[in-house]
Symmetry: C2
Subunit: 199 residues, 2 copies
Amino acid sequence: MSKHFGQAVEDRRSIYAIGKKSPITDQEIQNIVEHSVKYVPSAFNSQSARAVILLGKEHDKLWENTRESLRKVVPEANFAATDEKIQSFQNGYGTILFYEDQAVVEYLQENYALYADNFPIWSLQSSGMLQFTVWAALEAEGLGVNLQHYTPLIEDQVRAELKLPDKWKLLAQMPFGLPLASPEEKNFAPIEDRVRVFS
Amino acid sequence: MSKHFGQAVEDRRSIYAIGKKSPITDQEIQNIVEHSVKYVPSAFNSQSARAVILLGKEHDKLWENTRESLRKVVPEANFAATDEKIQSFQNGYGTILFYEDQAVVEYLQENYALYADNFPIWSLQSSGMLQFTVWAALEAEGLGVNLQHYTPLIEDQVRAELKLPDKWKLLAQMPFGLPLASPEEKNFAPIEDRVRVFS
């Protein structure tokens, strides 16, 4: 990877204008996802995270299906804006789907009853860690990335088409591709309202 | 920061043997936490994350209070092991407390009703991103770090003692200090069971 940790954290931004090219190979994309899935922590090292990488026509199909699902629920007068947004994701090179395997979460709940209420919460936090890691790592390699949540709208259809296990729960979709524009300006709240030090 | 992104991801491990020293200054610790809080993303850029850094006697007091809270709920015959564990955290140099401000989450729920069910879920994922970022950044600077969840056991007492806002919800405690031992061996599930590629 080509960036120092803090710089990669700072440079990880939402890039919505992405193109159907990648500065790195498909194998390198897969390596980044696999490295992140392997090393990001999980409660009791339960390794509940699952990831699906969609490239080429599979990436296109995801967003075509999402568009058709939205067409059924978005009022027709608003659909042009929705269509444009979905097209911006489809314009990208690929999409990563982030799942948490509920079979793992339920196993933990059954076997460590004291923490039963916590395992779903920790599973979400662990997935966030993974999403962030993949995002920053792809960005560090020159890709533009954003994060979407068309869930549960598309979950059943994606599971059926890709023949994914029933217990995999879809949390987020991450389109990526060649960045075609700079990130938008970002506003930051005063840090002293957010971090306190006691010593 | 001194490490490349992927290496920092890989080197972030749970270190349970930590000492009451730090290879970096208190100001550098604060800078890392503030940098992470500033740049880690949140839903709608809501910036719901809050962090508290405890150093010196405030760090000691956290773990002394946690020990006394546990003494009331752990059977006496098991308390020696609990006491030893708490002491291992107290042996560290400091602790970071991770919060999510529920006032922000509730504001989003009220103003974007369509996503009301999702904001608490996204808040947890965002907090996971932040916890991971601080963890890896501290590790990259030579600190040993682990992550604990004595929540809600200690939440009310900590809020009262530090006079924190009622709506700040405590999610995790991160003790850190000079690493005194290598991380334990970690087992990894086969990556092909966790990542699938479709192209």
